[in-house]
Subunit: 150 residues, 2 copies
DNA sequence: TATTGTTATACTCTATAACTATA
DNA sequence: TATAGTTATAGAGTATAACAATA
């Protein structure tokens, strides 16, 4: 029963944030999920799709679909990887970077409100707990049961 | 920066749980989102679609699409509401209820793992914090800014 | 052999706008 | 006038399986 309560609260919090984010970014023509990709790219010069899949906890084919959309809009570039000819080197275009910066500024207040809904000093512990949940729920890379039997 | 960190952790935790849930329910042919609807219905004899929209923080037309799928599978019934002829009275069929109970049992371990990823006594505060976030992020019913200016 | 990414395909979820019928 | 729900429509995200090229 406690687990279900937690699951419901987690869902409600995430979906609320997700929709507020989507609403905030409507005028930029970018979805909340796409923003996540742009945000990851903004922290590096370039990333392979494989790395982006890991960082966004996505799927190779899902991520590709998103990148194609972002590429069409001119926000993202996929070049040949310098050392690995299988891989693609994904990076923000100049337009993509400036758009991301605008969106980042535009969403400051939303992040402020997110933090403001917590008690002082509560954020740190919350983030830690959420990260532990995420780790527990991460897909088994091999046959291991995450959080399962010894 | 703190807000973004929190947003990322919230997303990672939710998506992890969501995918584990989907994976767990693959063999039942029911998605994690559909399970949420079944779970709400399992707590009442019947609900209107309007009430279900509120409880699942969904959209009238999204919810309808889900109900149509669940109805096709014989899990759910939509009857004429006794007192309001506009409304539909949605309830689990016998098959829907027994399926839900099977799924509930099948997902016990997942909920146990969810709770086990927390420190003892941490769950309560976490749920409270998540609910506060959800309340802050709830859509404005009118023109009020949730968490915004006075 | 394993890995990176693509393609084809299909389905769920999501949402908007215009609509019907009741309240 | 407002509310409950439907319809049409569209697009995003998700995932699987088979595949090609490269490591």
């Amino acid at each position: 029963m406690q687990g279900h309560e937690l699951a419901k609260a987690l869902r409600a919090a995430y979906l609320g944030l997700h929709r507020q984010t989507d609403a905030q970014f409507t005028r930029w023509g970018v979805t909340a999920n796409q923003f996540v990709v742009l945000a990851e790219l903004s922290e590096e010069d370039a990333l392979t799709q494989r790395e982006l899949v890991t960082r966004t906890t996505s799927d190779p084919s899902t991520l590709r679909a998103m990148l194609v959309l972002l590429e069409r809009r001119g926000f993202v570039e996929r070049r040949e990887h310098p050392s690995d000819k299988r891989a693609r080197s994904v990076s923000l275009t100049r337009k993509g970077r400036s758009t991301f910066e605008g969106m980042w500024a535009d969403s400051q207040d939303l992040r402020r409100r997110l933090v403001a809904s917590l008690k002082p000093g509560e954020a740190k512990g919350l983030v830690a707990a959420l990260k532990r949940i995420a780790a527990t729920m991460a897909p088994d890379p091999d046959g291991s049961r995450p959080g399962g039997a010894k």
